[in-house]
């Protein structure tokens, strides 16, 4: 049974440091199993969030050896037996304790995204959508809200002052998913520009790299939105859209 040293951040908003825990790992274990083992045997008050332990709920986000990851999907066989591994809380959000951070920023931003505004149904009262028309939006619906993309995004990670006017990659794809919903009638370009601050994103793709659901956040979400923003300022496109009766701006 290999033994590892986990250097786990222990502390509160007023300060803290990394503490070493020697832990045995059984076959197939992940970082979260070792954190649970530390709780059960060495530090019962070690604070961490978790729920599903299968990469479906997005609760156990942390920075493992400096990389934003889900603790439940980080297998110990990624590391050499005996290795020392650091486990730190997400840096972008204010610390509550140990590995738990205050992610309320994300819940504030969630409420700002203009919700779905649906077309009327077909004459028989049903809504019809073709699978190929929802594939794109379904990709964004895979998001488990682990907020790792938010954590790694340097716009907010390194610039606290951007937080009020920048929603972050999670909410760009939320808006993109709504805009790509075949039955939605609202245009969120202005929201994404003015309120969500997409202009601050310079597409370094860090968000895409850390996404545990492998969502193409930048290529399929952010870039098309940025392109649409440009289109909207193109007078020819604007005229064409008026002519054809395009989407409405949010009220």
């Amino acid at each position: 049974m290999p033994t590892f040293t986990l250097k786990v951040f222990r502390g509160s908003p007023t300060g803290g440091d990394f503490r070493d825990y020697r832990v045995d790992a059984d076959d197939g274990m992940v970082i979260l199993d070792l954190v649970h083992r530390i709780q059960a045997t060495q530090a019962p008050d070690l604070a961490c969030r978790w729920n599903c332990k299968a990469g479906k709920c997005g609760s156990c986000s942390a920075e493992i050896d400096g990389k934003p990851r889900l603790m439940c999907m980080t297998r110990m066989d990624l590391f050499k037996p005996g290795e020392t591994i650091t486990v730190a809380p997400m840096r972008t959000f204010p610390l509550i304790r140990d590995l738990v951070t205050d992610v309320s920023y994300n819940y504030v931003k969630a409420r700002q995204v203009p919700p779905l505004r649906l077309k009327p149904p077909d004459p028989d009262g049903k809504y019809r959508m073709m699978q190929e028309d929802i594939d794109r939006a379904q990709e964004f619906h895979k998001c488990i809200e682990c907020f790792l993309c938010q954590d790694v995004c340097h716009v907010i990670r390194d610039h606290e002052d951007h937080k009020p006017r920048f929603s972050g990659p999670r909410f760009f794809i939320k808006a993109a998913g709504l805009d790509m919903h075949p039955l939605d009638t609202l245009d969120r370009t202005e929201f994404v520009r003015a309120q969500a601050g997409i202009g601050l994103c310079n597409i370094t793709k860090c968000c895409t790299e850390v996404c545990p659901e492998h969502i193409h956040i930048t290529d399929n979400g952010i870039i098309p939105m940025k392109e649409r923003m440009v289109d909207n300022f193109d007078p020819v496109v604007w005229l064409l859209r008026r002519f054809r009766g395009g989407r409405q701006e949010p009220a």
């Binding site: 059984d26 199993d33 019962p44």
Partner: protein, 599 residues
């Protein structure tokens, strides 16, 4: 100890739990124009619903126009071995399609048929392909849809807040008291009506698909507040949980694998389910491989035994393993790789593909999965009125897994997500109406609040005493070994003795550290409800001297018609859990007739 300070919030309705049922209840209560507080133990959007995979059952008739609520009602009653509350089963089957279409209107993007309608997949015990789904991540779609709808309805959300006790004014409910997990501060909620939507009890078992949250909080607090529990002996062991490696043991493998063509095999390569078709399902189950495989495309054939209800499949796997025909790590093999193309598997079961690849190093498009039973769901819980979801305590409502009745002795896959939205809506509606008609003053007894607060903080003041994790692990061992899939009187008596011992140990549990986000303390407090529901399940299981659905007695191996007319009822009287038998509500003749028909 000095009386701890606490903060107070007041709402017309509080909803405890923010999975599918809690969110749907909060939305409906808010629509009644009353003030609503939604309290959840985790962050919003992380509740157990997020882990649901296969789909939501509703007789939309998009794939098989022959399907209708009557067939869904029949399947649900038969799956539950006829002990279901017939009225709940009727309402559920009738209203599920509207609730699914409502989710679509709120933004859910279900997979589509070629005509652009909601696609439906086959699942165990359902006569027709009935489950609306999004690949194998239907629960995620559902909770996100409800969550993003709810945040625009003026609901106050209290995240990472745990309710410890319900409060009453005389007979009626008056609120709840709990604590904030991230500060450890005590909090009082005064409320005219309380909706419980707290989910299940699966954390009392060692091998479980349930997360840390499933500690029976709703069942236990309701019991302590004087409400009846029923059917607590019926615990569902899902036939297919992961078995290897040990760290993932119990994690769910969706029934959708079998719905989409996967089959169970033993270590001799035999499709053993053909040997386990019970008399009750003979008429509708294929007895040969050819017919079973043809059933997927043509429903004139009888259904494959791989898709018998979950209790049957779990027992069959258990028997195969006991007979020495199991897989290398003590499960059986679930094979879809030889039966469906790799692209199809990745498209239909992306999350299973990902889960096995990343956690077990198994490519399910090339190798079979190793699976075995895992504790998954409790059919029993708070006894409710079918139409209003009101418990036997006025002002207390319950919906979703915490409530009992709909599923009888065994729940069909897909009927949980539909349960959440059908009865979540009803709970929110009737809690809202109850709050509007509430007469007199809303009073809580301050002394009761203070004593609850002191009880919460006691573990900090103890010296000596034990680590809460050790007690929880010992309880899980007891329930796994003595009150598992196959039960006997002697073992359950032993379990009750052991639970008494664990209760004594829990009274002396010690907590290290402070009140801010302290999981050791949270685990210590959860022991109260976990031990209560473990005792309730064991008592009810001892009482029911027959085998039915999720309750199998080695000493009473047959289903007994006399027991088929009775619920086991649990209530707290003078500090002890009383067990009694009460008759099921009588089903009207026109519904009885539906059960006789072949179609």
């Amino acid at each position: 100890m000095a009386t701890p300070a606490y903060e107070t919030h007041e709402h017309d309705v509080i909803v405890i739990g923010a999975g599918g049922a809690g969110l749907r209840a909060a939305i409906e209560a808010a629509a009644q124009g009353v003030s609503v507080g939604l309290i959840c133990k985790s962050l919003l959007g992380k509740a157990h619903t997020v882990m649901a995979e296969g789909g939501i059952a509703a007789a939309l008739g998009n794939v098989w126009p022959e399907d209708n609520w009557q067939v869904h009602f029949r399947d649900t009653m038969r799956g539950g071995k006829m002990i279901n509350n017939w009225r709940m089963a009727q309402l559920h089957a009738q209203e599920a399609p509207d609730r699914v279409l409502e989710l679509e209107r709120w933004g859910a993007l279900f997979d589509r048929t070629r005509e652009g309608l909601i696609l439906q997949r086959d699942f165990g015990g359902h006569r027709y392909a009935r489950l609306a789904h999004v690949g194998d991540r239907t629960g995620l779609e559902m909770i996100r849809t409800l969550q993003y709808h709810a945040i625009h309805q003026g609901i106050d959300v209290y995240m990472e807040c745990k309710v410890e006790r319900l409060l009453k004014d005389g007979d009626r409910v008056a609120g709840a008291v709990g604590y904030w997990r991230n500060t450890g501060q005590v909090v009082l909620f005064k409320a005219k009506a309380v909706v419980l939507a707290t989910g299940g009890i699966g954390k009392a078992w060692k091998i479980t698909s349930n997360s840390w949250e499933y500690t029976g909080d709703g069942q236990a607090t309701a019991l302590w507040a004087g409400a009846d529990l029923i059917d607590m002996e019926f615990v569902q062991f899902h036939p297919t949980g992961m078995v290897w490696p040990p760290s993932v043991r119990g994690i769910l493998v969706t029934e959708g694998v079998r719905g989409d063509g996967g089959t169970l095999k033993n270590n001799k390569g035999e499709r053993f389910m053909f040997n386990y078709i019970p008399e009750f399902f003979k008429g509708e189950t294929a007895d040969n491989e050819q017919e079973a495989d043809a059933w997927y495309a043509d429903k004139n054939n009888r259904r494959t035994p791989d898709l018998l209800p979950r209790d049957e499949v779990a027992r069959a796997i258990n028997s195969e393993v006991k007979a020495g025909r199991g897989s290398p790590h003590g499960g059986v093999l679930l094979d879809i790789c030889t039966r469906r193309p790799a692209d199809y598997i990745r498209k239909r079961l992306p999350s299973m593909y990902h889960q096995f690849k990343e956690l077990a190093g198994v490519d399910i498009t090339k190798e079979p999965m190793e699976v075995g039973p895992t504790c998954h769901y409790v059919m029993g819980g708070v006894r409710v009125d079918a139409d209003t979801t009101q418990a036997t305590v006025p002002g207390l409502f319950a919906a979703g897994e915490v409530a009992a009745g709909l599923h009888g002795s065994n729940r069909l896959g897909g009927n949980s997500l539909s349960d959440l939205v059908v009865f979540g809506r009803r709970a929110g509606l009737h809690a809202g109406l109850y709050a509007k008609n509430f007469a007199g003053a809303l009073r809580v007894d301050q002394a009761e609040v203070e004593s609850a607060a002191r009880a919460m903080l006691e573990p900090f003041d103890r010296s000596g005493g034990e680590n809460p994790y050790a007690i929880q692990a010992d309880l899980q061992e007891v329930m796994q070994n003595l009150v598992g899939i196959i039960r006997t009187e002697a073992e359950m008596r032993q379990a009750l003795d052991k639970i008494e011992g664990l209760k004594e140990r829990a009274k002396k549990v010690r907590v290290d550290g402070g009140r801010v986000y302290n999981p050791g303390w949270h685990t210590a407090l959860d022991l109260g409800s976990l031990l209560t529901v473990a005792e309730c399940t064991t008592l009810a299981a001892l009482e029911r001297k027959e085998s039915r659905g999720g309750h199998t007695r080695e000493d009473y191996p047959f289903t007994d018609d006399a027991w088929g007319k009775l619920n086991v009822v649990l209530r707290l009287r003078d500090g002890r859990v009383q067990v009694s038998r009460e008759p099921l509500p009588e089903m009207p003749p026109e519904l009885k007739a539906l059960l006789q028909e072949r179609k």
